[in-house]
Subunit: 232 residues, 2 copies
Amino acid sequence: MATVIPHSPPEQRIARRSLHDEVVERLRDLIVEGELEPGKRVPERVLCERFGISRTPLREALKVLASEGLVELLPNRGAVVAPLTVTELDEIIEVMVTLEGLAGMLAASRMSDAAISEVKALHYEMLACHARADLHSYFKLNQAIHLAIIAGAGNATLVQTYGALNGRVRRFRYMANLSGERWDHAVAEHDEILSALTKRDATLLSRLLSDHLRNKYQHLKQAYQAGVEAAE
Amino acid sequence: MATVIPHSPPEQRIARRSLHDEVVERLRDLIVEGELEPGKRVPERVLCERFGISRTPLREALKVLASEGLVELLPNRGAVVAPLTVTELDEIIEVMVTLEGLAGMLAASRMSDAAISEVKALHYEMLACHARADLHSYFKLNQAIHLAIIAGAGNATLVQTYGALNGRVRRFRYMANLSGERWDHAVAEHDEILSALTKRDATLLSRLLSDHLRNKYQHLKQAYQAGVEAAE
DNA sequence: GGCTATCATTTTGAATGCAAAATTCAATGG
DNA sequence: CCATTGAATTTTGCATTCAAAATGATAGCC
C-alpha cells in the first residue's frame, strides 16, 4: 500500500466550479468583509433566497465555513456568524506571528527575483497610498504584500493555514483607524522588511515580519479597548 | 457594531451530537487510521450503507473533510481519500515543526505543574513500551505527549491548527518501523524534552521539540524512500 | 398586571426524488 | 484481436419533502 506518492503530478486546476464551492466562497466573502454581522443569526432561508439556491448546497457551505471557524452552528438553532472573543483573537495572532516568521525564513531564500520585484512594486504602490492617506487601498496593498511573501515561501500548506486564520481576523484588522504616528511607524517597518527581503536575510526578515504583526495587533487592540471604554 | 467580544463566555460544551458531526468524526477516523486507502475512490453509496444514513449528512461530512484536506472531491466524479505527495508531506512537516516550536515556547511558561506531571507520567509509560518494544503503544503515548504539550500552550487555535495538519500525516507517521538505534535516539530526545519542560526552559524546549519532529520525519522519509527503491 | 402553559408557526435535520454527468459494457468495425 | 462508439446503468448534484425541534403567540391563571 503506497501511502505517499513519490512526486506530485502536474495537478491541473481546471476543475469546474460546483454550485457548492461558489456558495462557500461568496458566503465567506460576506463574512470576511464584514457584511454579515458577527453574532447575528443567519437563517438558511434568507441566504437561500439571496443566492437563489436550495437549502442543500447552502447547508453544505455552512458546515464547511463552520469547520473554518467563520460560522458557529448551534444544533437545531441554526448558524451565527462566529464572533471573535479577544482571547481567540490573541490566540490566532500568536499563531499567525509564528507563521509569518516561518514564511520570512523560507521566502528569503526561496522567492524568485521576479517575485521580490513584484513585492517591491506593491511596496511603492503602498507608499503612494500612505502619502495620499488612502487607508483602504493601503490596507489592500498591505495584505497583498504579506500574502505575496507568504506565497513566496513556496509552501502551499502554509498559505492555506495562514489564509484560514487570516480570514477569521481580517474583518477585525480592517477596523483599525491608524493614527498618523502609528501609520508612519508601520510604513517604516515595511521599509525594513523590504530591505531584508532584498538582501535575502532570512533571520532578519523572519524577525521583522513577526515583530511587525505583533506590533500591528498590539496597537489595534489598544485602540479597540480604548474605544470600548470610551463607549461605556 | 461590536466585532470582538470583550471576554469569552463560559462556553459550555453540552451540545447534542448531530448526525452530521458523528459522521465527520467516524469518517475522519477511518481515513486517519488508514482504514480507507489513499487515492481510492469512496462512493457515497457504500459509506451511506456503512454508516446507515442517507446521502445528505454524508455529503456534508465529505465537504468538511475536503476542507480539512483529508479527502479530495472531484466534481461529478465523487470523493477520493486524499493521497499525500512527498512535496505536501514536506510542506506540512515544515509548518508542524514551527508550530511545535511555538507550543514549546508557550507551554514552558503556561503549563500547570499538574499538567507537567501528567506528561512525565506519560513519558515513563512510554519508556516502558520502549523497553518492551511495544511499538504501537509507544506511538500512542508519543502522540499523547506531544498533544499534551501542544494543549499545554493554552492556545485552542494552535491545538486545532496542529491537529488538522497532524490528521493528514498521522497515517504516514505510523508507518515507520523504527530501527533500534533510531528508536533509542528518539527516546533520548524525549528525555531532553521532559527535562527542558520540567525546568521550564522555553527556548530550549522550543528548539528540542522542533528538532525532534524534524529528525523524526527525516528518518521516516529516508526509510520510506529506501522502501520505495527496494520495491522497484 | 404579570407569569406560565399550551398550541400554531417557523426553522432546522435528514430522507427521498429527479435530472445531468460519468462509468460500464457490449457490439461493431477495422 | 484491439480500438471505438453508443446505449444501459450507476453515481453525483441539487431540489423537494417530511419529521422533529425551536420560536412565537395566545389564553388561562395567580
